[in-house]
């Protein structure tokens, strides 16, 4: 059969711990070691056979690892040196909630789920068992506080009975805290022994005084359950992590009051499980259900001491700037040396960031009341405009001390000016001036960015209903974005040429940014575009052919989108407002980089680069003061491992054609309603998520690539989308929905459980069949010219839900097979209902005089195979009149059924060829043929992958292996002559290879 090997695993990580310059993370059955300074993964060591690592305790060179009923005691070195440490695994008869070493390291304590402590020597000989008489409520949580060699306290969090703090030696309860409602999910004690903190199902954190036994304070804030707590910074702070994917820092006042100080959105829906803090570096590490290991700089906002400053108008006048009563800042721009601002009195102010001084540069009364301020950082230039078509351009020296050039301009061609957009190109300044009068032309200006000479003006005829909001210049083309999501392309080499107008390219309104990304070998230019309503897209424009194509369209999870751009690492970064926050978000890796409570979108603000790469500044006015907030490049890697989905992966599909050398793309569709497009390195199993699509609004059911270009996904609410993948650009693969299947009602509430397709030879057209939760079956034709689905046939099986569907083109016939929840396989002969001629197992040409028959024909064959729903099936054609169906069911069974087509009367007959009732201990959720259809893989919820030799048409179990992915639900594979790459999804994703024996 061959060699099976796990290449990589991404899945929930329950615990993390700092140790020196390393982060240790429990990762499934493994412990990962990362160098948090370089971000490098140092080692992966397997600790347990089946159980997940839930906790780690280190004393000296010894590490105690526990998870479920397993424990192991290792020398720290062996994590670095041995990839497999499973031989040290020991089993406890009860779940181990927590473990610690004794003070002198000669023994270990294991707290079990029955509030019992096993005191063991270093070879796990049980020396003593300790418990409190009469207290047996099962625990969800607990920690052991080793105060000294003789004094050990147990903090136990029970399922029903609050928090119990007891003394190990005396076996006496010291405190019984019952103020929480619901189960206790974590209890931690402060190092100084003064406080205990606990969190529960009631979503609050409670702080208890261990001396007085009183509740000191309650912290509210998390919007879902809280899973872990840690005291840090000499017990003056507490950090909490939650199901709501945030981590919060709480300050503990002298009186013991919990005050929420900061909130960090770190992981993907849902659950952050583990947290630890490095007190010296003041960084936190968290781990979550999404398999991400995340570093958060808790001092990001104060690290170098100059991150933020605030100036009121009074403060500014203290610097010797004369401000009139009611004089306010009307606009500002940040240059490399500091800020330039225009006041309501036409006064130009400068703020030098080195000296932190404000000075008045000049006053120009033409710019009183209305003015707009913009600039170009790389040219050290600021541009002021007013409504009377007047411009003031100031060019500064690099240090900002001198004004090198001043230029005043009047744009005679316009009757009024309300809009002035500015960018720098190849050391030139480029301006777009616009008038509210629709009869005025659109004016562009170009001039030398050093001398402000050699001015050239371009006059364009403006399209109707067009108000520019952003622009980009590429070679001789100006691409303007408007307030109605329209793009207009102007050629500055030929101003007479009519503008190319691309109407409504995004669902929202105002286009907030356009950026050039790259040009490919076909001369297609790629641009990223964002709109304020939260949508962004990548559009490819061929200027010479005057063609364009949407390659990707997506929306951010919530809030307003003010811009998006690729950073130096190739991650797409978005920024904007979420209620009263300004945020910067890594859209590729999916985490918040930074947020600031600026009060919301309705204010003057600028977010601009500062100094160099990855350094930014946010400037905003709040309560008539100007705020500067610098965002520095992170000192430590922000992500040690990115993870994938935070909820169950429902389906995976791999594209057959490779993407780059040794790489392939695949989609993962999750319960979290997103589809991720990922790039997989087939050599080492490394996964890089490129895009997370939020097109679906409900739980995903299926996704499949139907060829190298198209992918289809289906979900509840009758959502089915046809996606097109583009891989001709270097930056990334791009994907977008090109067509949606029509739904049967205005408020669709059916789930599209599965779909099948048959491509029409030599075209992009295909026959699609969809099956629904109300037993409906529909057959469609996708016409690529019209980019539309046409309904050909519809009907119903009975009333039960349909789970799977297949189309089988067999010789000259087209057969439909469906598996409902009643465990049967049901087939129809669709041949007469399809407007295509079928030859040699293929749909070849259109039947011209076709009489449509919209009703599903009578059932050809219905056979009982399973005693419950068939969860997954695979079809294989054997000969031109025979096919096999491999099935796995909710009844734990696996089967092969054979269907035979009678060539004479075109009827179909089926029977079960091979059946194994106890095919798994639990639901079989996926079956997959690999190795030239010689081997059948099955995945089941008992977390076992079994493989059967099916080469003789019967099931012969060959082997089985355990997978760490809980709720194991889907498999896809990619076969080559040497072996198969196998992806197994559930709560997490594992990549395996099967190398065939030659």
């Amino acid at each position: 059969m061959g060699q099976l090997r796990q290449l990589s695993h991404t899945g929930p990580s329950v615990c993390v711990k700092f140790h020196g310059k390393y982060v240790l993370a429990g990762y499934g059955v493994f412990v990962h070691v990362y160098d948090y300074e370089s971000g490098e993964l140092i080692s992966i060591s397997r600790i347990f056979h089946r159980n997940k690592v839930h906790g780690l305790a280190i004393r000296g060179e010894s590490i105690l690892i526990y998870g479920a009923r397993s424990v192991s005691l290792l020398n720290l070195d062996s994590l670095w040196q041995n990839a497999d440490n499973t031989r040290f695994e020991k089993l406890c008869h009860e779940w181990v909630i927590s473990g610690e070493h004794s003070m002198d390291g000669s023994s270990v304590f294991l707290l079990t789920s029955y509030n019992k402590v096993l005191c063991c020597d270093l070879s796990f000989k049980v020396l003593r068992t300790k418990a409190v008489y009469g207290e047996r409520s099962i625990l969800y949580s607990g920690t052991i506080n080793v105060v000294s060699q003789d004094k050990v306290l147990v903090n136990a969090g029970t399922v029903m009975d609050g928090v119990l703090v007891w003394d190990l030696e005396t076996e006496k309860t010291l405190h019984h805290f019952t103020d929480h409602e619901g189960s206790i999910f974590y209890v931690a004690a402060s190092t100084n022994g003064r406080y205990a903190a606990s969190c529960s199902d009631d979503r609050s954190i409670k702080l208890w005084d261990l001396h007085s036994g009183c509740l000191v304070s309650t912290g509210w804030g998390h919007t879902a359950r809280i899973w872990n707590l840690k005291f840090f910074d000499n017990d003056s702070k507490l950090i909490s992590v939650s199901e709501d994917c945030t981590s919060r820092v709480w300050e503990i006042s002298e009186e013991g009051v919990l005050v929420q100080k900061s909130i960090h959105e770190l992981h993907q829906t849902k659950n952050i499980w583990g947290v630890d803090v490095n007190n010296e570096k003041m960084i936190a590490v968290t781990s979550g259900n999404d398999g991400r290991i995340k570093i958060t700089d808790l001092n990001l906002r104060t690290k170098s001491g100059s991150e933020s400053s605030v100036f009121s108008l009074d403060d500014i006048s203290q610097h010797g700037v004369e401000l009139r009563p009611n004089e306010i800042l009307k606009g500002f721009y940040w240059l490399r040396f500091g800020l330039l601002a225009m006041t309501s009195e036409g006064q130009v102010l400068k703020f030098d960031q080195k000296t932190e001084r404000w000075t008045s540069i000049m006053t120009d009364s033409r710019f009183t009341s209305y003015s707009a301020t913009s600039g170009v950082q790389e040219l050290d230039m600021v541009v002021f405009s007013n409504s009377r078509c007047e411009l003031l351009i100031l060019k500064f020296s690099k240090d900002g001390d001198e004004v090198l050039e001043t230029k005043q301009l009047h744009i005679n061609e316009l009757s009024k000016s309300t809009n002035c957009l500015v960018r720098g190109y190849d050391s030139n300044l480029f301006l777009v001036m616009e008038s509210p009068n629709p009869n005025d032309p659109l004016i562009c200006l170009r001039m030398n960015g050093t001398t402000l000479q050699h001015e050239k003006r371009f006059h364009f005829h403006k399209p109707k209903n067009f108000t520019a909001s952003s622009f980009v210049l590429y070679e001789n083309f100006v691409v303007l974005g408007s307030r109605t999501s329209t793009l207009a392309i102007f050629n500055i080499k030929d101003c007479k040429e009519e503008a190319t107008v691309l109407r409504k390219i995004l669902p929202g309104d105002t286009i907030t940014s356009i950026d050039f990304v790259e040009r490919n070998s076909e001369n297609d230019c790629l641009f990223s575009v964002s709109d304020r309503d939260g949508f962004y897209c990548f559009i490819s424009i061929n200027f010479s052919k005057r063609t364009h194509k949407m390659l990707l369209q997506n929306r951010i999870s919530k809030g307003f989108l003010e811009g998006g751009h690729y950073n130096a690492q190739g991650d797409f970064i978005t920024y904007g407002f979420k209620s009263n926050l300004f945020y910067v978000f890594n859209e590729t890796k999916h985490y918040e980089i930074f947020s600031e409570q600026c009060g919301g979108a309705h204010r003057q603000w600028r977010y601009l680069p500062n100094f160099g790469l990855d350094e930014f500044i946010l400037i905003y006015i709040k309560a008539s003061s100007i705020h500067f907030r610098k965002i520095h490049k992170p000192v430590y890697p922000e992500i040690l491992r990115n993870g994938l989905h935070g909820r169950e992966i429902r389906d995976i599909c791999i594209r057959t054609e490779p993407y780059r050398q040794d790489k392939t793309v695949f989609c993962s569709a999750s319960e979290d309603t997103t589809i991720k497009l990922n790039v997989l390195n087939a050599k080492d199993g490394e996964i890089r998520t490129v895009w997370t699509f939020r097109k679906h609004t409900s739980g995903l059911q299926r996704c499949k690539f139907i060829n190298n270009k198209f992918m289809i996904s289906s979900a509840a609410r009758e959502e089915l989308y046809l996606w097109e993948l583009t891989d001709t650009f270097m930056s990334n693969p791009y994907m977008t929905v090109i067509c949606a299947l029509p739904s049967s009602s205005k408020i669709p509430d059916l789930r599209i459980m599965d779909f099948a397709y048959e491509i029409i030879e030599g075209t992009d057209d295909f026959i699609l069949t969809t099956v629904y939760s109300d037993s409906a079956i529909k057959v469609w034709l996708y016409n690529s010219d019209e980019n539309a689905f046409e309904l050909l046939v519809s009907g119903k099986y009975q009333t039960c839900c349909l789970l799977n569907v297949a189309l089988v083109a067999l010789d000259t016939q087209l057969v439909l097979v469906v598996s409902p929840t009643d465990g049967h396989l049901v087939s129809w002969n669709l041949t007469q209902h399809i407007p295509y001629v079928i030859q040699n197992n293929k749909l070849v040409k259109k039947i011209e005089a076709f009489q449509p028959q919209v009703h599903l024909p009578d059932i050809s064959e219905r056979i009982a195979v399973h005693s419950a729903g068939i969860k997954s099936f695979e079809v294989k054609k054997i000969t031109e009149d025979r096919f096999f169906i491999y099935t796995g069911g909710d009844d734990n069974a696996v089967a092969i059924s054979e269907f035979v087509l009678d060539k004479g009367n075109k009827t179909i007959q089926g029977h079960v060829r091979s059946f194994i009732g106890a095919g798994a201990a639990s639901t079989i959720t996926s079956v997959k043929l690999i190795q030239h259809d010689m081997t059948l893989l099955t995945a089941s919820v008992d977390q076992v992958i079994r493989y059967y030799d099916v080469s003789s048409g019967v099931l012969i179990l060959k082997n089985k292996f355990y997978t760490t992915n809980a709720d194991t639900g889907c498999i896809d594979s990619l076969s080559s002559t040497a072996g198969s790459l196998i992806l197994i999804g559930g709560v997490g994703l594992s990549v395996w290879t099967l190398e065939y024996n030659q």
Partner: protein
């Protein structure tokens, strides 16, 4: 999801409301009984983790309405930590099922006679840590089982909710030491998309060399130490990892494959019918105060 769309999505939810059951799970017990007929001739039954009480309602109807013989000697006892609204012919006890006092109370009500049937539809809240959730559920089943071993007559029946996760085959193996036949049954009213099933244990055969004894100081694990069902026992030293005995129980889908499908969407809900209110009002969740604060806008990102 609104009341009426839930009606459409879930036919059993609607049927439960129509027939006066407190929860749709009533149909699970009805369909299990339809398959196994374990309620045909029983006199003393115990419903553990009974709240809100839909299984007790089924027991009450089956014992006192469908079969009126021998009414005087019939007893139904429902136990839960949560209070329950009264049900005709059911004695409800608010108590911990692992406590010896609870056993004594039930035995008093049964006048020293043993039970014919014990069931438990209990499930803990899930955390999302699949291994922990499965462990806690199995501990809950074992708690029900320990009480069951103390009060079930020889040949009696035990039914409990299970989730078919990664260690379910270990539980199958352990239960088969105590019962003649162990079946994993999935009623059609239990969703196919859920891992929920029911373990139906027929023909209780207590080991002759083991006497069950509830003790406030013993955990469920301690309780079964000495009862040779293949659970790991605690000796002087923690043993090295070993594969514990596992077996796969027979699977039966019940309620008939032609009965209503809990995964299907039904359209026959009259468009103008007013949605029925749930029979059982929602319980107070522990996070009620957090929800209130959220509604008041006090759980925002503002710090």
């Amino acid at each position: 999801m609104g009341k009426s769309s839930k009606d459409k999505r879930d036919l059993y939810y609607r049927k439960a409301k129509e027939e006066g059951y407190r929860a749709r799970s009533a149909f699970k017990l009805l369909q299990l009984d339809e398959q196994f007929h374990f309620l045909d001739n029983v006199t003393r039954v115990v419903d553990l983790c009974a709240a809100p009480g839909s299984w007790s309602q089924v027991l009450s109807r089956r014992l006192f309405e469908d079969n009126v013989d021998n009414k005087a000697s019939k007893r139904i006892v429902a136990v839960d930590l949560q209070p329950m609204f009264p049900i005709d012919n059911v004695t409800t006890i608010q108590a911990d099922i692992t406590h010896p006092k609870t056993l004594n109370k039930i035995m008093d009500l049964f006048e020293g006679e043993k039970a014919d049937f014990v069931c438990s539809d209990g499930a803990p809240d899930v955390t999302g840590l699949h291994d922990l959730d499965e462990y806690v559920q199995q501990q809950l089943i074992l708690s029900a089982l320990q009480l069951t071993t103390c009060l079930l007559r020889k040949g009696g029946v035990f039914v409990a909710k299970i989730f078919r996760g990664r260690d379910i085959d270990m539980l199958y193996s352990q239960l088969s030491f105590l019962f003649e036949r162990v079946v994993c049954a999935k009623p059609r009213s239990s969703r196919g998309t859920s891992l929920e099933s029911f373990i139906v244990c027929l023909g209780y055969r207590p080991p002759s060399n083991w006497k069950p004894r509830l003790d406030v100081n013993m955990s469920v694990e301690d309780f079964f130490q000495g009862c040779d069902i293949g659970r790991l026992t605690l000796n002087d030293e923690l043993p090295s990892y070993c594969e514990e005995p596992r077996s796969i129980a027979e699977f039966i889908s019940c309620g008939g494959l032609d009965s209503f499908d809990s995964d299907a969407t039904y359209h026959d809900v009259p468009a103008n019918s007013t949605a029925l209110d749930p029979v059982q009002p929602p319980t107070n969740p522990p996070y009620k105060r957090a929800l209130e604060l959220k509604r008041q806008g006090k759980l925002t990102r503002a710090v």
